[in-house]
Amino acid sequence: MNAPVENLTARDFASDQEVRWCPGCGDYAILKTMQKTMPELGVARENQVFVSGIGCSSRFPYYMNTYGFHTIHGRAPSIATGVKLANPELDVWVITGDGDGLSIGGNHMIHVLRRNVDLQLLLFNNEIYGLTKGQYSPTSKVGTRSPSTPDGSVDMPLLPCVFALGAGARFVARTIDTEAKHMGPVLKRAHAHKGTAFVEIYQNCPVYNDGIFDQIKEKKTAADTRLVLEHGKPLTFGADQEKGIRLNRKTLMPEVVTISEDGVTEDDIVVHDETNKVLAQMLAGLKLPDFPEPVGVLYCEPTAPSYTDDFYQQRILVREQKGEADLNALLRTGHTWSVS
């Protein structure tokens, strides 16, 4: 029998399966942070369900000692929706990647976010197809050379957080594979959110796309390339938090400014409000080299009802109106006649 929730440790959430990712894969770090965070969520192990599609990230459920379902390419959000419809008491996590979630599964991604099904959706973004050996993905930068684009990709990538907000996500966050201290609290926030919590995780693929997030991850550059979001705090960055994001009143465009230069004061810097969707949409679009890339909770609309709640609420109302279900009675409603 399972140990009481309060006594669980990270080890309790590790399955007995040998982890099969490549050495140095960012997925190891994410797995470790997840296993470490799980005991802090206060949910019994048997009520946790991990659902994934296909790809490197989608092997994740095998390594979690919870219920898990490794499904088919791109369809994890749909399977997870079914799990949640059948049993809303379960705590459901969807693990997906940029190819799985945004290419083959793009349609389901739109709809799970639009519906606001109560689950956590973690998208490991390494901007490449790993498991099929390195083809470019829908998040690969233009010019990505890969087996299928030997002369460089020419199509525009999409930005996962912009996509999620566009689809109507009520919780959008971003974190980084190796930043356990940042990721842990983000996962907890995602878990606490009622509705679909979308978390993009910058994840390094050491084999096919090594180092694409180095600028953001490495200590010596991170101060200038990473915008750490905190609700109610100004959008500042830099070694001494001397830089910030200001909104140009004429163009309505964000711009990087330095406080105390050209008359810029701290008051000019935009203050992060995670309930502000317009701001979230702006933040989601910030990309290097012009802007630092935001991490943390971009958007959270805590009051939006989840699909699952509304769905069951409607059922309760209908049941109150219709009374007790009786199949024999149902079959005998409408125009019937007796033959003797």
Binding site: A86, N328, H335
Partner: protein, 621 residues
């Protein structure tokens, strides 16, 4: 004797044993509503009946267009009725397009009621008439009742002050009133239906009722030709009990609810709209008071995946579509085979390939059901043979899915889904329950555990302490359920999955003979909705002392264990199908029997005559 005199003497009404009536008009004329109300009145009257709604894919085709003609046919009689009838005795043609497209099915001497007001130059032109057929003698082979229906309707609804547009829309009810007079039907149920349908628009309701009554009164009082008389179709001799009408789609929906109850499981029905399968979603969506969750997914793949997710979570996942949608679900169905989760896939077949004939019927997805997935993914395939049979077959699909932890494909078709027939209402308490027992003991648990008899994999629900486990599409170790790429293990797992499905043959009834003898000169082997036509054809041939029997197959995979032996007892085997010959190939390859095909893919069900002719030429050959 004039019609009026004859009317006053109901005892003298012409007695006939059966009748085929077809209502035909523009797709906006309300012919389906007219037909379903007439069906209800006919059922309440006590005739046996079968219906065939036949409508175009266009919701509102341009008025007067031949491709926009919507028809509803009903066959009713005092004897057993199992098809919607071969030839039409009474045709109601609301416009020239309806007349020109349906006249070929009218028996010579048949009655045709036409709305002369609709025979304008423009409408006749559009239908392809260069002369007015009512006047040029081209209808001389029939008994024509030309009535200025539109004018009559406008007159009858005048007191309600409707706009011309709404007033003319009562035309179908006026016509229904006339036909009800012709067959001595009671209008009460229709009046109740109209009051319910237009509860929020009492004016419209009353106008429709007035039109219905006016049509009826017209029959009673007008000087109709002397050949037009009230027909008396005696009540059918049927087993005693409480009856109702049902379409296959409704019976299927109720059967799925019943199946869930018998399995003591909630059901999760996830679907995506597609003709002609959507009505199942509509009916189930109205049943939230039961343990039924319905979900309209974003696409066919999401629908089957949500159903699979629900099954994983401990509900009975069900999805539904028609051929093209089933194609999209293929990969996910194989996942359900690999993970050995229960799942029901209802295919309401339609004319194909591709968009094909969305509103017409066909049986051409059998190969898809049997073989249409990647890899070795055998699964049970069963088919319903009548609208009423959809109830029992749905229950059976639930039983197979949960007892054997497998996806099950349930084949219906557009004809069964829409056609209605009287139903001796079943009592759910008469059905044997098949309650599911979920695993709950961590001792010795692995997700690979199987029932040694049925080979069904264990079902452990998330939320059960100590049974945390992972399943997925990667091949699993036979003993532990962990990922395994071992070659011998894959052979073993493939064999087990196959053996489990083949073994179902031990848990289904032996194949019986529907009509006729065990053994003989010829057996007609059918499956699905051809039941009615084959049954009548074989019955008629046997009345002529021909040695022919009818075997109708519900279990298409695995086949009943005795089927090969049974078929070998006949000299010849004839397999009628609404496809180019799919089941006939199964019979041939499985049993090395020289079965002969009889195929039809016109989008229309078989006529009794067509099968009768084939039987006779087969026996003469």
């Amino acid at each position: 004797m004039s019609a009026v005199e004859e009317m006053s003497n109901r005892e003298g009404a012409t007695q006939v044993s059966d009748m085929v009536v077809r209502f035909a008009g523009d797709s906006g004329d309300g012919m389906q509503l007219t037909g379903s109300n007439f069906t209800e009145a006919t059922a309440l009257y006590g005739n046996d009946l079968a219906t065939f709604p036949d409508f175009p894919a266009e919701i509102r085709a341009p008025a007067g267009a031949t491709f926009g003609v919507s028809a509803f046919q009903i066959y009713f009689g005092s004897d057993e009725v199992t098809t919607a009838g071969d030839q039409v005795d009474v045709l109601i043609a609301m416009n020239p397009a309806a007349l020109i497209t349906n006249l070929k099915d009218l028996v010579s001497g048949g009655l045709v009621v036409v709305d002369v007001d609709a025979f304008t130059d423009k409408n006749m032109n559009r239908a392809g008439y260069s002369n007015n057929p009512i006047e040029d003698g081209s209808l001389d082979a029939y008994r024509v009742i030309p009535i200025d229906i539109s004018k009559q309707v406008l007159e009858s609804v005048k007191p309600f002050g409707l706009s011309h547009k709404f007033a003319v829309r009562c035309k179908n009810m006026w016509t229904l009133g006339l036909v009800m007079w012709l067959f001595d039907r009671d209008r009460t149920a229709t009046i109740e239906n109209l009051e319910k349908k237009f509860a929020s628009k009492p004016d419209i309701a009353q106008a429709n009722i007035a039109a219905l009554n006016a049509g009826h009164a017209y029959g009673e009082t007008a000087e109709l030709p002397s050949s037009v008389e009230v027909y008396k179709v005696p009540r059918a001799e049927v087993p005693p009990g409480l009856y109702r009408n049902t379409t296959g789609s409704d019976a299927m929906a109720y059967g799925l609810i019943a199946g869930g109850q018998l399995a003591q499981l909630p059901i999760t029905f996830a679907s995506y709209p597609i003709t002609p399968a959507s009505s199942l979603l509509h009916t189930l969506s109205q049943q939230k008071q039961f343990d039924v969750v319905t979900f309209q997914a974003e696409d066919e793949i999401a629908a089957v995946c949500a159903a699979i997710g629900a099954s994983f979570a401990g509900s009975l996942g069900i999805t539904s579509s028609s051929g093209p949608g089933i194609s999209l679900k293929g990969e996910a169905i194989s996942l359900a085979c690999a993970t050995e989760l229960p799942l029901i896939i209802v295919n309401t077949q339609r004319g194909g390939p591709s968009t094909g004939l969305p509103t017409k019927t066909e049986q051409s997805d059998l190969n898809q059901a049997l073989f249409g997935r990647h890899a070795d993914t055998m699964l049970p395939v069963i088919a319903s043979s009548t609208s009423v049979d959809c109830f029992d077959v749905a229950i059976e699909a639930c039983r197979l899915a949960v007892q054997f932890m497998t996806p099950v494909i349930l084949l219906s078709d557009g004809y069964l889904a829409n056609a209605s027939e009287p139903w001796l209402v079943p009592d759910i308490n008469d059905y044997e329950p098949f309650p599911v027992s979920f695993a709950d003991n961590p001792e010795g648990f692995t997700p690979a555990n199987r029932d040694p008899e049925t080979l069904a994999r264990v079902w452990a629900r998330p939320g059960t302490p100590g049974l945390e486990h992972r399943i997925g599409g990667i091949e699993k170790d036979f003993e532990t359920g962990d990922i395994s790429y071992e070659s011998e293990n894959h052979q073993k797992m493939t064999d087990v999955r196959k053996g489990k499905i083949e073994g179902i043959a031990r848990y289904i009834p032996e194949q019986g003979v529907a009509t006729g003898e065990t053994g003989g000169r010829l057996v007609v082997v059918g499956w699905g909705s051809t039941y009615g036509a084959i049954h009548q054809a074989v019955k008629r041939c046997r009345q002529e002392n021909l040695d022919v029997s009818h075997v109708h197959i519900r279990y298409l995979n695995p086949l009943p264990a005795n089927l090969g032996e049974l078929l070998a007892g006949y000299d010849q085997v004839l397999v009628p199908e609404m496809n180019t010959g799919q089941f006939v190939n199964v019979v041939r390859s499985k049993f090395l029997i020289d079965a002969k095909p009889l195929n039809k893919v016109s989008g229309q069900p078989f006529k009794i005559r067509e099968i009768e002719d084939a039987i006779k030429s087969q026996l003469e050959a």
